[in-house]
Symmetry: C2
């Protein structure tokens, strides 16, 4: 069977409509019983051998033309291989494409149904992705060798029941942390601030600069020079990153979540939503990275973060710090 | 027992020499049977209760003074806890400190022996580390909560026996890769260039832009516009990073190592040193990231890379591309 091409749209006749749309969800029925196909759909039909040509073009010619991105083709083919029907979203076929490239229907459903399983945004490994574009779609990243990694993204509600208020205490500001030599037991044991200076003797508690800056800011920690001195020490080494981390730390504590360093996981924080006591500490749920609002992701960095988080049974979350507050984004591996 | 402080050096008498140096490797014997201690050694003796004071200062006062970095103290204490004797390296005690902070002796050995187990460089999580400082030492990173991660660094010999030369072939340059529609079987099967366009039908092989640029550069791949067109396409999206990756790719192929994309691991490449055929492919050994010469590491990024590489049983390797060629650095987890 052959199809024709005009103005970037492939058109085929009544038989194509029955064979491709009615039975397999390709294309969009138009007037006079005809079928319109997006170039990526026509390419897949050429690849399957169901179409013989599009105005004389085969798959090779279509891939060489400007009509079709091969990255889109690989993702469309992969979704079809996984048993899904899907439609190109940047067309009049899909209401509210929401920055996505393909709408994927639940298995067994198709374009004639209302249900949507995934909204997929397609990028090449080599392109960047603005964080603002994520949160309501899944990302399909096509790597250099055309392997596809899928990432689900959403806007999480980061709240918990961990305790943040404790009795006041004094601390010494050292080069890179604060030591409380005689703190109330609640500081560490109940609210999970700091770490014992010595595992064997949990009397003295050392606080990280970000913990100390928060506690000094709330009036809980008394330290020479107050919160300003701690913040200055933090900025001296980290610059703006310290402010960004402190903003996220404050927000997490305000929301009842206890953040601890995420260093071993390459993140800013790991978080505990429901600390009752350190003696009975659960598993930390999130790995958190703090970025500026307007952050743009390299897909490779996303892949690294998400793979590592998955390997330690945590969810990767990003906090974007801007003038209007903090936005959250969670990213997880997806196997469609 | 008490000690005195003068010019940043702690001094104690004959009894200290017997008790601390002869039996436990602290300090350096000096004239008249006396002992000199570095502040970090004195701090550890104060912490253990073996010293009562240094000119009236206890551990708290010493940590509050400018004599001692608490990060050094944490690492020294950790190494002692692990059963090692160690000496501060930035003193006349150690010949050729090699940019390291502590020399660690093998278990059962001490400063009176010649053997060295580790040369340790200490950094806080929040400091950066120039790549040029690594390669002959282990890095001890003290995180915000004073947990210590150790990383062994060395300069690896990255060579292999994988085949790089194959018969000539033609390819079509698409937006983000090259497709060879009728390549020689050796291209993929023997030399592991590219991936089949379709798993079921391995006829057509797609090459990544970096593979295509290399093969076009060696005269193996014929493509419209030659290597320049491929490189231009690569730079259009990636900028300088493409040139850096291509330089590393070329070097690896010249050295008999087959690089493939490291995307799923958040790296530039994963590498196979001894490919005989794709049908009998072994495990890839290295994850490689390409950086410019003069690169400065964030310890957190190192921790992320090395943890992920360890989790997939590979070694993390960094390639630094400069005018003089390419330098290599391998980093692995170390448990002293």
């Amino acid at each position: 069977m052959d199809a024709t091409l005009s103005d970037g749209v492939v058109r085929a006749g009544k038989q194509a409509r029955e064979q491709f749309y009615d039975s397999s969800g390709y294309g969009r029925p138009v007037d006079a019983g005809k079928l319109e196909l997006a170039p990526v759909e026509a390419a897949h039909l050429l690849y399957r051998g169901d179409l013989d040509g599009v105005d004389g073009m085969g798959l090779r010619e279509l891939l060489n033309s400007a009509l079709l991105s091969e990255v889109d083709f690989f993702v469309y083919k992969d979704l079809r291989d996984r048993g899904f029907y899907c439609s190109p979203a940047r067309s009049e076929r899909v209401a509210d494409p929401d920055g996505c490239d393909f709408v994927v229907y639940p298995r067994g459903k198709g374009p004639w149904d209302d249900a949507v399983a995934h909204r997929i945004r397609v990028v090449s490994e080599r392109e960047t992705v603005p964080a603002a574009d994520l949160g309501a779609c899944a990302l399909a990243v096509v790597d250099e060798e055309s392997e596809i990694s899928y990432f689900e993204t959403h806007r999480p509600d980061v709240t918990g029941t961990s305790r943040s208020s404790v009795p006041e205490t004094d601390g010494d500001l050292l080069a890179d942390r604060v030591v409380c030599w005689d703190p109330p037991a609640e500081l560490y044991e109940a609210a999970f601030y700091g770490q014992p200076l010595d595992e064997q003797d949990a009397q003295a508690i050392q606080l990280s600069l970000v913990e100390a800056a928060y506690l000094a800011g709330t009036g809980t920690l008394h330290v020479e020079g107050d919160a300003d001195a701690v913040i200055e020490r933090g900025r001296a080494v980290e610059g703006d990153r310290f402010d960004r981390r402190l903003a996220v730390y404050e927000r997490l504590r305000e929301q009842g979540v206890a953040p601890k360093t995420g260093f071993k996981f390459g993140a800013d924080f790991r978080t505990y939503a429901d600390v009752e006591s350190v003696a009975d500490l659960g598993h930390s749920e999130l790995l958190v990275r703090a970025f500026d609002a307007g952050h743009v992701f390299e897909p490779r960095d996303l892949a690294l973060d998400v793979r590592l988080a998955h390997g330690v049974r945590k969810t990767m979350a990003y906090a974007f710090v801007g003038d209007e507050g903090i936005d959250w984004l969670a990213v997880e591996r997806l196997t469609p």
